[in-house]
Point group: C2
Chain length 323, copies 2
């Protein structure tokens, strides 16, 4: 039973399409939650007005503002130190947005901001697969590829609060160009949803091998379609996962040799392909590790409910700050 | 003037060829130092006996064992948690060597061990170019390539104490094979002394361009020879540094996007080439960084005296432990 005096935290996860928010207790129960469109708000002001309206209803249900200990927010390019979102390519608001201050002024509550993958890392450390770990890497494989590095029990924010961008590290120099950044050969240009789709189109183009994927309209080819073909034994579909796993495996090996984690926690759409993606990833990771790191690092799949994970992670920032 | 009560620390740096050791005060003066051969000792026992003999003389000169607060040691593949050296390819002793315990038993002093690049990082943080910084990366460019990552003011040792091995991260998948590890395309196989030499031989082989380097006996071509040719404007020599800087620059960009440091401190032989190597390194680093990281991270050259740096870094482990 919920005590009426128990402190609660608000978690807000801002994504390019939608924003999820909810009220969470200290042990990680999402008590109330909802979502709204991010995309339709051309200005940050109307976005915050709508967010405030929705959240006020939830806050009342949960016992009023007095029980709220603070607000944790995850957002692409969210900066922990400055509380600003800076040049986020997938959000409708350009430039530098002082979102933590704007939300704090509106709600009269403390606001802690970080990028979405860092928030996910704290959520996993507090409630998920990384519970109790002091050194691990969180990797989110979704529309983009994000990461959070935890060392000595602390999230690494770095000197200016933008650390953890493994998705933009270069795995194949002079490789595929990333549409958002213009950089060549980054992890995200291969291991994201878009990346897998592009690999599929390339593999189909460069081979004359028959494939179930050839029966599909090109526009509908995505990692789910590749998965469906691969479980039927489709050779090209398997090749697409093998290639994606090779790139991801090399990148994980590099991250392991730098930070020597206990585990890597994977989260997001691509993990639904299970061993089809995990097996080549693990193999290429081990193959590229030097001896002292081999056969030590666990690759774990997040077991947090996908609908709750983003809110949980964001809310965890509030408790993390109080530590 | 040296107070007779001031506590002192012993620093020992074990290298593949020689071992340096000395006695250091808290503000980083190396009061007494000397060195001995590592290579000639087939067993760890005779190595420690000789080390004890030499150091005992220095300890007496410095006021006796009572003033020694502890021993800090840097060694390849030195593990901070276990105090062991594990499978170090360049040392004469194979397998797992419990060196911290052996040295501690012999000297009756506390011993802290880590790998040589991590020790260098702590030395730079305490006395060198990274003084006062909380987030930086130390890179040692010598016979091998080592690194130490400092985040939130703490060295990252990782879950089992081997973190910081940027030299073994893969920069060019399926690239040049590393003789010691068997891995392909690692930073160390390009940005080490051996790596630069191999690049020089490859560039000479694959081009018919005239070069001052063609006048040399192949066995004598090293980064010094490439430097001498490059400052005379030799086109192939410049190309060798450009290529090396490209590989190093990509690797630094990746490290920056993961850890968002205030600065990168470079140390070791290759840095003597100055702008010939730094300019391409910086250019390729910036080129591969996404916008939020660009034009922010300083690349600094260590200004510690090369003869003292290893001893200083090792001794700093003693004070670091007391923090």
């Amino acid at each position: 039973m919920m005590s009426t005096h128990e402190p609660l935290a608000i978690g807000i996860d801002i994504g390019g399409t939608g924003t999820k928010f909810g009220i969470v207790d200290r042990i990680g129960n999402v008590l109330f939650s909802s979502e709204m469109s991010t995309k339709k708000h051309k200005t940050i002001d109307t976005f915050i007005d709508e967010l405030h309206e929705h959240l006020s209803t939830l806050i009342e249900k949960a016992g009023g503002i007095g029980r709220m200990r603070g607000i944790g927010m995850g957002a692409p390019n969210g900066n922990f130190y400055s509380g600003t979102i800076e040049y986020a390519p997938n959000l409708p608001w350009k430039g530098i947005i002082p979102i933590a201050k704007l939300v704090s002024d509106k709600f009269k509550l403390d606001v802690t901001l970080t990028n979405d993958a860092n928030a996910a890392a704290i959520g996993e450390m507090m409630y998920g697969a990384a519970k109790g770990m002091k050194d691990f890497i969180m990797i989110t494989l979704g529309t983009g590829v994000g990461s959070g590095f935890v060392a000595n029990g602390q999230l690494i924010y770095g000197h200016d609060g933008f650390a953890g961008e493994i998705g933009h590290t270069i795995v194949l120099p002079d490789g595929r160009i990333h549409e958002g950044t213009g950089k060549k050969g980054s992890l995200e240009s291969y291991a994201s949803a878009t990346g897998v789709r592009l690999t599929a189109l390339e593999v189909l183009e460069n081979s004359s091998e028959p494939s179930l994927l050839r029966d599909l309209d090109k526009d509908t080819i995505d990692s789910k379609a590749v998965y469906d073909a691969a479980i039927k034994g489709d050779k090209l579909a398997l090749e697409i996962f093998e290639f994606t796993g090779k790139i991801l495996g090399i990148s994980l090996a590099n991250a392991v040799m730098i930070s020597s984690p206990e585990a890597i926690v994977l989260f997001g759409g691509l993990t639904k392909a299970g061993d089809l993606i995990l097996k080549p990833t693990r193999e290429h990771m081990e193959e590229n590790l030097i001896q002292v790191f081999q056969n030590k690092v666990k690759i774990l799949i997040s077991h947090l409910k996908e609908s709750d994970a983003a809110i949980l992670g964001a809310s965890a920032l509030v408790w993390e700050k109080e530590k």
